[in-house]
Symmetry: C2
Subunit: 131 residues, 2 copies
């Protein structure tokens, strides 16, 4: 899996790393049970701090995307990704609300907004080498 | 305008306040040229720190949503809200990408995702008392 980070972005690196791993799972480039590099290996590979990788892994563990075994290391949750529940849908709405409001103010109408969302769905679909 | 803040959210209060003001502009509850409460008044009204309100106002000024006059105080940009350009569209895509990827992992398909977006568009439309 190719991990792309933007060091000039306002988004913290650990969040970007989390997002990239979740995108990898969405694209099925990371499959249930698949092993991820150790904290040390990944930090060395992409040239970031150990703590940054650790923070991303720990949060993804808490959210149910990863398991961290003392011996087997870091793996994608073999039981699959956590499912959306009412709490998650509320959170998602709260996260989308300001983006929709701001883009609406800036003259991006529903159709244009949807076009932008579609590019992301296309990226997921094209990344899925198993499809 | 009614400002709703969630003190238990992970989203910083100044960001929530920014989002609420932008939502107010989207709903046309705040019109171009309209005056906002002073930093001190708003902080007192909602019971938050002066610096939090100031940070939100200053960022909205930098982004072109508000003007801050020494005498006339804080007003919604009378020339209207800033428009979307290529840079903004890129930023918006970068912000939506992880939300779409995570919701996709969690089993929210395109149709369901769009339904959630529609609830926000409905909120904007219903809030617009001028329509």
């Amino acid at each position: 899996m190719y991990i792309q980070l933007d060091f000039e972005s306002d988004i913290p690196i650990y969040e970007q790393l989390k997002d990239e791993i979740i995108m990898g799972i969405a694209k099925k480039q990371l499959l249930p049970g698949e092993r991820l590099p150790s904290v040390r290996a990944l930090a060395g590979d992409i040239g970031i701090n150990l703590h940054t990788v650790n923070k991303a892994y720990q949060q993804l563990k808490q959210e149910g995307f990863l398991l961290i075994h003392r011996q087997r290391g870091v793996v994608v949750n073999p039981e699959g990704t956590p499912k959306a529940d009412e709490k998650y849908e509320k959170k998602l709405t709260a996260l989308l609300r300001p983006q929709i409001a701001e883009s609406f103010c800036r003259g991006i109408n529903k159709e244009k907004f949807w076009e932008i969302c579609e590019t992301v769905y296309e990226e997921i679909k094209e990344g899925d080498i198993n499809e």
